[in-house]
Symmetry: C2
Subunit: 413 residues, 2 copies
């Protein structure tokens, strides 16, 4: 099956919004062996939308369209697709009931914009939108499929996963693609490549992509084939060869975040944790609490942004702040030990650093971060140098703190 993705919206063409929908859809289609040949973004212009539909519908088995399904005047995709398939709009009772439920749940008033959204193309099948009011559409002709979905990412994602992928997977046979992503952190792309060694011996015909980001490098293995068992076997073999070379840097697979991996370790070991943050400003606690069930091990977080609160709440001796400054090994250690004591947890974790853009000195440059760790036996701190960019320094510091915790829990060096 060959597919094309068309994303609609002026906000894309003036660069106001980065198009994350395309990559998400492409990835999901690729996972079920549907090959995406082209991705296009067009503006909120009915003629340009129709032109795009025409070309895409000719040369593909599947066309996925997102955007322009909302209730306001600039949302013209429904009009365009009705014109393209020569369909009229009729009231749809299923959509009406669904919107009525949402409106009630949200404590809102029924109004003309909701009324408008109950109208649905006669020739389309409904693709349910469990979390929003804009219903998705499926047009089918001669074993070709055109889906129209809302552009709001969380609604679109739900619909791709719940409806589009299962529907297409059941119709696309004879072509198998499998991907596996190994997530690493604490090692650069070039060091990782060096440790992996000879690439042909490593891959033996499978494919590998390096995907670097500020918080780590993901390694994505891809295998193409015609039957599931042999493809999955090749995938597992390559995974094992990679793991045997760089295992200690791998914290998870596919979409697993570092905080999820840590949550599992803490739960297994029945350990509790608390954090004291300076430069990460709450991001470390935010990441930890993104994990459902984190209330079982996460007791307390403190964002001690001022020196005063470091002293008063954490009991950091003020002499340490005077002698070494807030961004120092000594203060990072005192913060980790302090939060562990205050919250009465097994482990304390801390961050202190210079996120910028101000606050740097010649001896303490922008991006300097100390991460502290304390348990019943050890108190220590590790120094990092993260460069500039306030948000980037925060992200990298929070990741480094989580990775330090993971290595301590697993007794990796």
């Amino acid at each position: 099956m060959k597919a094309e993705i068309i994303t609609i919206g002026d906000e894309l063409l003036i660069g106001q919004v980065v198009n994350t929908n395309q990559a998400f859809i492409a990835q999901k289609l690729s996972e079920i062996g549907v090959r995406v040949g082209l991705m296009e973004s067009v503006g909120d212009d009915i003629q340009e939308i129709l032109d795009a539909f025409k070309v895409a519908w000719q040369r593909n088995d599947v066309v996925i369209v997102t955007g322009g399904l909302g209730p306001t005047h600039d949302d013209i995709t429904k009009k365009a697709v009705c014109s393209f398939f020569d369909s009229d709009l009729v009231p749809n009772e299923e959509i009406r009931r669904h919107i009525e439920e949402l409106v009630k749940k949200w404590n809102r008033q029924w109004g003309p914009t909701y009324e408008e959204q109950t109208l649905f193309p006669r020739k389309a099948k409904l693709v349910p939108n469990p979390i929003g009011t804009a219903g998705g559409m499926l047009f089918e002709e001669h074993n070709k499929y055109l889906f129209v979905l809302p552009g709001v990412p969380y609604e679109m994602k739900e619909m791709i996963e719940q409806s589009v992928v299962p529907f297409l997977a059941s119709r696309n046979t004879g072509s198998v693609i499998r991907h596996l992503t190994l997530r690493t952190t604490g090692i650069s792309e070039s060091m990782l490549a060096a440790q992996l060694g000879d690439i042909d011996a490593l891959l033996q015909g499978t494919k590998l992509a390096f995907l670097p980001s500020p918080t780590g490098v993901r390694l994505r293995i891809t295998v193409y084939g015609t039957d599931v068992p042999s493809v999955e076997n090749l995938l597992r073999e390559t995974e094992q060869r990679i793991r045997s070379r760089v295992e200690k840097y791998i914290y998870g697979t596919n979409e697993e975040e570092l905080e999820t991996a840590i949550g599992k370790l803490l739960t297994e070991r029945k350990l509790t944790i608390a954090v004291a943050e300076s430069c990460t400003g709450g991001l470390l606690a935010d990441k930890i609490t993104d994990v459902s069930g984190s209330s079982n091990y996460f007791q307390q977080g403190l964002v001690t942004y001022s020196n005063k609160s470091k002293v008063e709440v954490l009991g950091v001796p003020s002499i340490l702040l005077e002698q070494h400054g807030a961004v120092s090994k000594e203060v990072a250690e005192a913060m980790a030990a302090g939060i562990r004591r205050v919250a009465r947890t097994d482990i304390g974790l801390s961050t202190t650093g210079i996120a910028g853009p101000t606050g740097a000195t010649s001896v303490k440059p922008l991006g300097l971060v100390w991460v502290g760790y304390a348990d019943a036996e050890t108190t220590l701190a590790v120094r990092f140098q993260f460069g500039d960019g306030r948000r980037r320094v925060k992200e990298r510091a929070a990741q480094a703190a989580l990775e330090l915790l993971r290595r301590k829990l697993l007794k990796l060096d």
Copy 2:
């Protein structure tokens, strides 16, 4: 001038990489009045690249191509563009000197991949790449321009800003585009549309787009014209008409985040703040500390995830927790007052709620959040119902807390 952007690379079509290049280029072109009509992504396939070139070259004044200029076997853009313009490759001395300098600076060895990159299409002009080895190309025919740039974001960005934008700006006269985005929160897209009323009277020929997200709806005004003063005037007039109808929901313009707007208000009024978070788990403090200079007004954050820490650290009376539960008006108020007292700030802000997926009951559904606020005169809490999705509930709750603070500071109801 009308433009099209073509990005090349298999990694885009399997969704391995989110295409940030397109949005960057589109934004830069838009700023100089060059209108992007279409953006396309194609794979590393010479025929598909040629097809895309052909269509784009026919219908545009400017085509920007990125990707596939590297030195490895899958980089075929140079071959494709030579075939398209019927040009051969010749050694280019300027590129050779540049690569020699880089190779020396990087402490690398000269090799066949560098040799290959010194070859350049005879019919193209060089677009310098100050930080990489792949030279950019400009093909010019009958006042039409096709640029080919590398896909590496930081190289591409440098070349767009240093070469492409100045070149096109000097040739694009007589066409002006201006955008302005008004950022709202605390009101749904459909309520906003209802309050804005008759859209033709509102816009009077200018354009308006509604851009919803979980944390608010952005309103983007666009005006096209031929001279700067009249375009800017129309933009201001539409802005004023919109503001007169929905002013109280607008917290900022363009890229300004709510936390930035609040930072300005707190700084102006010389007020300090501290936050106590339960369901937002650190995200509220994280957002506040994303603003450079926030250490001037943000004193302390507490993530009191357990009831124990709410009682011990914030002094929330345990009878309130027993009688009303942690997710209640009473506890939200006690948390806000508690953190204000503990941190000795002018204002205390708190969140408590059910982020899910577990913890909901029939009277306290998933997504129920109380936001508390305390200053010298008032202590109060506001109830919200945010639906499901753990991360989404956190995002919306943090935004609601910031918005409650903004409204209090501005004395909006």
